[in-house]
């Protein structure tokens, strides 16, 4: 039962490593940004899993509820989600400009064009 109680976190760590693998192993810039977003979403799941209280309810105060889940990770992750989309928008705008400047969005072709200058 000890191992079983932590399997949530292990699955989330596997998802994080999937996103991390996409970031470092793919050559296409857009796919890197998608992998970064996968990584971010998995980190959010990790934090929200840590804030859950068994038998608790959503942190909206009502008469009929005794225990609530922890509201602090929710606030933190709310901020993180919106900051994440802002960063993604900026990153994708950079990719569009890189494509217009170099003619390609593949990392090794960009490096070879830079080195041949």
């Amino acid at each position: 039962m000890d191992m079983f109680a932590l399997y949530n976190y292990w699955v989330v760590i596997f998802l994080m490593m999937t996103g991390f693998y996409v970031v470092i192993a793919s050559g296409n810039l857009v796919k890197k940004i998608i992998g970064l977003n996968l990584f971010q979403a998995s980190v959010f799941i990790l934090y929200i899993s840590m804030g859950k209280v068994s038998g608790g309810a959503a942190p909206i105060l009502r008469e009929t509820v005794q225990t609530y889940s922890n509201p602090l990770p929710h606030v933190l992750i709310l901020t993180a989600i919106v900051v994440g989309v802002a960063t993604t928008a900026l990153g994708l705008a950079l990719v569009v400009r890189i494509k217009e400047a170099y003619g390609t969005a593949e990392e090794d072709e960009i490096h070879s064009q830079d080195e041949s200058l």
């Binding site: 909206i60 994708l92 569009v96």
Partner: protein, 138 residues
Amino acid sequence: MRDNPVLRVVTKITIPIILLFSLYVQFHGDYGPGGGFQAGVIFAAAFILYALVFGTQAVRIVVSPSILRLLTASGLLLFAGVGMVTMLLGGHYLDYDTLAQNPLHGQHLGIFLVELGVGITVAAVMITVFLAFAGRRD
């Protein structure tokens, strides 16, 4: 997509409902899930839907780039301005207790204004970013 009558009619029916829902989420964020961020994104989604079906030129007629710039800045100015007003009223920065006679009413007013500022800026930024991407192709 403008030629497809089903898409046109359904869009024209659903866009006011989406806008109304975003206003509901904005102002009922105190009593249920919701708040400024979600409402701003839903409001922008209505405009993005209009742009997808009727074209970016049609959206530029509805909300021009200068209005978008103005809205982006004014939401943030509202948020920071609430803080300055509370300082001028004698409290700390963003100390909503000073905004009304009863501290609870002050908190309600402060949260209302702050979430409104958040909703305005988030909606304007999302519409701006989408129009910047969508208008890029010649």
